[in-house]
């Protein structure tokens, strides 16, 4: 089973802290890979202005790096910062990593400066670069291109990957860090198959398996929405469903739970928004997930969330104090990230729960699916 850890704090901290939490949760898993997402980043050698997009990925060859430069220049993006990791060679299993890319760009002056258009362009850049890498034998892997977000994915023991990249040196810090140690059991090793998954600022990771993967994937692909591709992992659909719920259907975050694990008809009969939710369940029937899963995610505004599967078949805990919170698949992970907290306030979500840490981080919101939610116009 995969290990998940998320920490969110008002003050930026080193991602290495989260890796030590992964270490605490090491018992019983094979730690075959690491996926990291940093949000609200801060570099010690660069005064990062929060609205500039950051490109994250790996170039596996000089040619790839060159094509990347040409592509970005061609699109009018000006590189402002190129992060160089203090790499300890030998600690990384893979031998074809030329450069871990963390680069900050300045957006070109565009005809349409609206936020939607900018977001759309950022995604297009990521998708075009990803396609370019795939067309060239996979020599370029691109994880994200988005303001405030850095992503790192690598094969190997999580802490070893952190050591190899020198993450303990504190040169990169962030307010939110998501980490997933991947137990690679289902599909072939592929960096794109590694959680967290990312689309337009929205990221999720999961510690289970989505047994309804194929019909959901087919439905999402059929929508022909840019970015709904990949699916090297069955868990990628969780991210896209969250994106679809928030960005395409423009529904509040709470509704995500009702989309992926709707209540039964007799439960909805007693729900104050039951009639609307029944209709929604029918319309989004193909997005109902299955199998054991705890989904941990973050949104562009630094909201963090944890959603439990409908049978509560996976562990997950949340704990912390105002200003700093942690979510992890095992409680020892929360302990490792925030040892000094009131443990009696820890929460382990049940089947109906969504835990939300709002961007102000003052409290953890426990929302039950049985409760009504604010639905502006529709219900």
């Amino acid at each position: 089973m995969c290990r998940l850890a998320l920490k969110t704090a008002d003050t930026p901290f080193s991602p290495y802290e989260v890796l030590t939490a992964m270490e605490a949760m090491q018992e019983g898993y094979d730690g075959s890979g690491l996926g990291l997402l940093l949000r609200g980043v801060q570099f010690d050698d660069f005064n990062y202005r929060g609205d500039l997009p950051i490109l994250s990925g790996i170039a596996h060859s000089e040619a790839a790096l060159q094509r990347l430069d040409e592509f970005m220049t061609g699109r009018g993006y000006e590189m402002k910062y190129d992060h160089e990791f203090d790499i300890t060679p030998g600690l990384i299993e893979a031998k074809d990593r030329l450069k871990y890319i963390i680069r900050v760009y300045k957006d070109p002056v565009a005809a349409d400066p609206s936020p939607e258009a900018v977001e759309q362009r950022h995604m297009e850049v990521r998708l075009d670069l990803r396609r370019d890498g795939e067309e060239h034998g996979g020599d370029l892997t691109i994880f994200s291109f988005w303001p405030q977000v850095v992503m790192i994915k690598e094969v190997g023991w999580p802490l070893a990957v952190g050591d190899a990249l020198g993450l303990q040196d504190g040169r990169i810090k962030a307010r939110v860090v998501m980490a997933q140690g991947r137990q690679n059991t289902n599909y072939g090793i592929n960096l794109y198959a590694c959680h967290p998954f990312f689309i337009q600022g929205i990221a999720t990771m999961t510690n289970g398996e989505n047994t309804a993967f194929v019909p959901i994937k087919e439905w999402l692909i059929g929508k022909q929405i840019p970015g709904y591709l990949g699916y090297q992992s069955d868990s990628e659909v969780f991210t896209h469903i969250l994106h679809y719920t928030l960005k395409k259907l423009k529904l509040p975050l709470e509704v995500y739970k009702h989309v992926i694990t709707p209540l039964k008809s007799n439960e909805l009969d007693a729900h104050p928004q039951g009639e609307f939710l029944k209709g929604l369940r029918t319309a989004c029937r193909r997005l109902i997930i299955d199998g054991p899963n705890a989904v941990i995610g973050t949104l562009p505004d630094e909201t963090c969330l944890l959603v439990m599967d409908h049978k509560k078949m996976r562990p997950a805990s949340v704990g912390g104090r105002p200003g700093v919170w942690a979510m992890a698949s095992e409680i020892c992970g929360v302990d490792a990230m925030i040892p000094d907290r009131d443990r009696s306030l820890d929460f382990q979500p049940m089947r109906e729960h969504t835990v939300i840490i709002p961007p102000h981080r003052k409290e953890m919101v426990i929302w039950s699916q049985f409760n009504p939610f604010a639905l502006p116009q529709a219900a």
């Binding site: 137990q183 194929v214 059929g222 209709g279 319309a283 989004c284 109902i288 299955d290 049978k311």
Partner: protein
Amino acid sequence: MVSIQSVCTSPSSLTYHDLPWIIKHREDRCTLCGRCTSVCPVQAIYLTYRRQRMPKLDILQKKRGSDYRHFVGIRQRTSIENKCIGCGMCSMVCPNEAITPTPNSNEDRSLFHINQKGEAWKRGGRRNVSGRTILDRIIFDRISMLTDPALDAGRHEFNTNTILGRILPPEEFLRRKMAGEWIPPTREIFPFVIGSMSFGALSPNMWLGLLQGVAYCNEVLGIPVVMATGEGGCPPWVLKSPFLKYVILQIASGYFGWDEIIRAIPEMQCDPAAIEIKYGQGAKPGDGGLLMWFKVSKLIARLRGVPEGVDLPSPPVHQTLYSIEESVMKMIQTMSMAFGFRVPVYPKISGSTSAKAVLNNLVRNPYAAGLLIDGMDGGTGAAYNISMDATGHPIASNLRECYLDLVAQGRQNEIPLFAAGGVGKNGNVTQNGMALIMLGASGVHIGKYIMQATSGCLGNEMGRCNVCNLGICPKGITSQNPKLFRRLDPDEVAQRVVDVFMTINTEMKKVMAPLGRSQSLPIGMSDALGIDDPAAAERLKIRYVC
């Protein structure tokens, strides 16, 4: 040598060894009670007096002579109209196990003579192709093992229901909801639907039993089973009862029974489950319904608004001025309107290479609530033998093709596809149904299986019985003759309906649990399917396993 004149033969005279079934009668056990001959639906056997000559030789008187013994026995008729249909009723009633039909392992010569008086052979029943079907060979092989433990079919909660009705894309649903516009009606139903069998084809007792069983499944067990009427209307007491919500009313090209239905609308306590517009039937594509005169009793005549004792053939197509597309559109709209747009209306077509074209047409019709495709292994109450044997399309690849077509358009959630035709034909009803669901069906319709499982229909895939068209059903299932249908106890049928659906429900969980599925019906979960035939695997786009 026997003289020519005494050989009684004509081109169509056959001996019982030429017939599909041969009666084995044991005279040593027979007590001549006559039950078998009176029960036989086709008078295939008769009691007969025979005289046996006993040669007598009086040695003392040096005289030869004859004595005669008389005895009574059972004999088999060999005329075409009286050929044994293998129903086995004679053995069922025989108190001494003295009689039984046995299949003739030689060829069936009666096939060459069945077309007497220029009449092509009509019969009821099925296609009569025995052996495992493609559906029987599909296995569920994606078993949850490592990261996702399999579920517990006995203890976990499962959602085994499906949706019947047009489903809007989520964006459109929200838009209409906000604008307060019409949202197409949907029903949450059990995915195994009792397929269309008309009140007319079925006896009143059979129909009552089915409806009682369905009501029990819904009201006591919470399994939302629905049944379809077939063409020919619905008894007025059902139309005006709260049970109507478990009934899919069928309208077909003869429009039989619709006067009654329309007249009953103001008095209906609830809406029907759905309206099915029949354009075709898998067992006899291109043929309309056929109720032969034997079965048009007083009650049926009243329900259908026709005279008693006349053949009731429905035209093969709906009467329409222009194109079939136009007719489909108009009928769906008209029926939707008749029920205040509160009832899903969907067409039923025969499995066909043109099914995709129909489907694409429906996708563009905002009122179409689904599509039922009926494959050629389906059954019927009456049809020409050649239609049943040789026309149509098997369901598996037809359904799969249609589903994948929807997938390619991203509309697989919008028009639910229902599949029928041979589901459970060898008894594996849940396995067959789940295979079709994972190939992309939202549910399946079962007819023959229901007849066999709930009322003991004697028909099988080896040509047994199949006289449903003649009103002589020996079990009283498809007869309007009270002497026959009194043999069928509606309560017992209802009990069997309940047995069947409880079992299907359990078996569905036994399939879903190891696949790690419990939240929703695994529609289109083709990654869970395997088949031991590479060609079929390729055609169905599932895994080949051996």
